[in-house]
């Protein structure tokens, strides 16, 4: 396996305050929020922001990490409601002010010359992958996407993906696409000329990473560790590395090569956090 090209240096980070421009709901659990930011947020695919409502006061206290769906003068996020912070985001009205800190972390590594990108998304993990897919299309390198969810309701923005990629859908209940998890669709697509990018529930990413390792295909994962600061000072976002010790997802990630992540240690993280398999 030849080593892929290095990541470009990330753009500078800023603390912005911006009003909500629009909120579009996709079913009950998913919402796309865009912000009015005339100065513009320059970012790379796979980077994230810490978002905090100025009206939240001290509860929720900490900002919430969210992958960028788009950047520029109207940066947007895809939110899945799981708790109080995401509930507030899902209820926010245009004009409500937010603090956005970003862009943070390291994005996806560039696709090697001559390779095709195979994106594997699980549910809300689609956000940084849709960003990447749009970027690849702009470079004339249309990707292949496997998009999985529990049911047809758990595939937000599938229509957007279909526009920029060759889309393969899987659902666990068979309500859309192939019945089963993403792995069922992955098998025949894992050829030697692809490089894989994946974001979704940790157990899904661990399984995808394992298949890629067996197939000798490079795999990049986007980690969702709990975070307090998002910019490298709290040391809360540690993930166990295969080289031993810990690395920090908000600085060295969230996008990292799967080979670096010790998923055996990480399954415990998902469990303690209540992350669905």
């Amino acid at each position: 396996m030849s080593s892929p090209p290095p990541k470009p240096a990330p753009p500078p980070r800023r603390a912005f305050t911006a009003p909500l421009l629009r909120r579009e709901s996709i079913g009950e659990s998913y919402h796309v929020l865009s912000f009015d930011l005339p100065k513009g947020l320059i970012a790379q695919a796979g980077q994230f922001v810490m978002v905090h409502g100025q009206e939240w006061g001290q509860a929720p206290l900490l900002p919430r990490p969210m992958s960028l769906l788009t950047s520029g003068t109207a940066p947007s996020l895809l939110i899945k409601v799981v708790g109080e912070g995401t509930r507030r985001l899902a209820r926010a009205n245009p004009g409500e002010r937010f603090q956005l800190l970003g862009p943070l972390g390291r994005g996806w590594r560039p696709l090697s010359p001559g390779k095709r990108a195979l994106l594997v998304a699980g549910g809300v993990g689609v956000a940084p992958l849709l960003y990447l897919a749009r970027e690849l299309v702009a470079q004339g390198r249309r990707p292949v996407v496997v998009y999985g969810g529990r049911s047809a309701q758990d595939l937000p923005l599938d229509d957007e993906l279909a526009r920029v990629a060759e889309l393969h859908v899987t659902t666990e209940d068979g309500s859309r696409g192939r019945r089963g998890r993403v792995l069922v669709a992955l098998e025949e697509l894992l050829t030697s000329d692809v490089e894989v990018y994946t974001c979704g529930p940790e157990r899904m990413m661990a399984a995808v990473a394992e298949r890629c390792r067996e197939a000798g295909v490079p795999c990049e994962v986007s980690l969702e560790t709990p975070m307090a600061c998002g910019y490298g000072v709290c040391l809360g976002c540690a993930f166990k590395t295969t080289e031993g010790g810990y690395a920090y997802a908000c600085v060295e990630g969230p996008c990292v090569t799967a080979e670096r992540v010790d998923f055996t240690q990480h399954a415990a993280v998902g469990k303690a956090q209540g992350v669905a398999p």
């Binding site: 900490l62 600061c229 000072v233 709290c234």
Partner: protein, 303 residues
């Protein structure tokens, strides 16, 4: 001295706003945000003799108006701090308080001696109060005799001001504080986190891998204020306040209670510019009220 300037145990600070250890990295993570030399000073992440990896994840979780952390004192070690971080801070004119911890008196002394060889460290803050490690830390902060031993040993090893960081969990905190004062401490800092816990009923599991963690943030503020208030009357040396401080109003509460300076902690996670905004807010307050920070210290009126 400007309206904002203060003196803490022989160390002059351009303003009374520092950042709390473990919540501000090594001060070099702020390049994109602001010039940290504008602050009264920064307290480094706790430094040990050898680098430390820290605890397994999950290390942080949010609680009502606060958070729990069990980082486990992960740090680069004093050597790499001196080689990689300190020269940059020194060149920028940042006032650096080195926060250190060890599991033995000799360990505290060894780190202090290593720092003594470097210019650009303005004071040493002894963490005798970390709740998140099995050895090193809190046992020193609970026992007046042990606290005095560590303080005296470090005192002998450095020309610099020695600050001792108090555990809110010491039984008789005033006794520990006086023991540190008698052993030669130049200032006390208070408070470190209080041990707390959180359980997720959905998964029926403890949220932090370490099970318990240090509780910090705005919810801690009234407890910290009461402790600072008690310490101010227990000792003659200055007290530097920590605990849920994120705005100039919060800082004023502690200054009025008698603190000589404050440290901004968890608030920096919410907004990396929080400490800078506290400085600006204090400047506006002093200007509007026609007072200096020094005149405010201990100036609370009785009810």
């Amino acid at each position: 001295m400007s309206a904002l300037g203060v003196e803490v145990g022989g160390l002059a600070l351009k303003n009374p706003v520092l950042t709390a250890s473990g919540t501000f990295g090594y001060g070099l993570e702020y390049d994109d945000f602001f010039d940290v030399a504008e602050l009264g000073g920064i307290c480094t992440k706790g430094l040990s003799l050898e680098p430390r990896l820290g605890n397994p994840p999950v290390r942080v979780c949010e609680t009502p108006s606060g958070m729990l952390n069990a980082i486990g004192l992960a740090n680069v070690g004093v050597e790499r701090f001196c080689v990689d971080k300190l020269p940059v801070l020194r060149a920028r004119g940042v006032t650096v308080i080195a926060n250190i911890f060890a599991s033995s008196v000799e360990g505290f002394v060894a780190i202090t001696e290593r720092l003594e060889a470097e210019a650009g460290v303005h004071a040493v803050e002894l963490n005798v109060s970390c709740p998140n490690v099995t050895h090193g830390g809190i046992e020193f902060g609970r026992d007046p005799k042990l606290a005095a031993q560590v303080t005296a040993a470090v005192r002998r090893a450095t020309r610099r001001p020695v600050w001792v960081k108090m555990s809110p969990e010491a039984g008789d905190l005033a006794a520990v504080a006086r023991a540190c004062e008698d052993a030669g401490a130049d200032a006390l800092t208070a408070i470190n986190t209080i041990r707390g816990m959180a359980i997720d009923p959905e998964t029926r599991s403890v949220r932090l891998a370490n099970r318990t963690g240090g509780f910090s943030g705005p919810a801690l503020r009234p407890v910290a204020l009461r402790i600072v208030w008690d310490l101010v009357s227990a000792v003659k040396i200055p007290v530097v306040a920590i605990g849920g401080i994120g705005t100039a109003r919060d800082a004023l509460e502690f200054l009025l209670a008698g603190a000589s300076a404050v440290q901004v902690g968890t608030a920096s996670f919410v907004d990396p510019l929080a400490a800078k905004k506290v400085v600006e807010g204090l400047a506006r307050y002093c200007e509007a009220q026609g007072v200096s920070v020094r005149e405010l210290i201990g100036g609370v009126r009785s009810p």
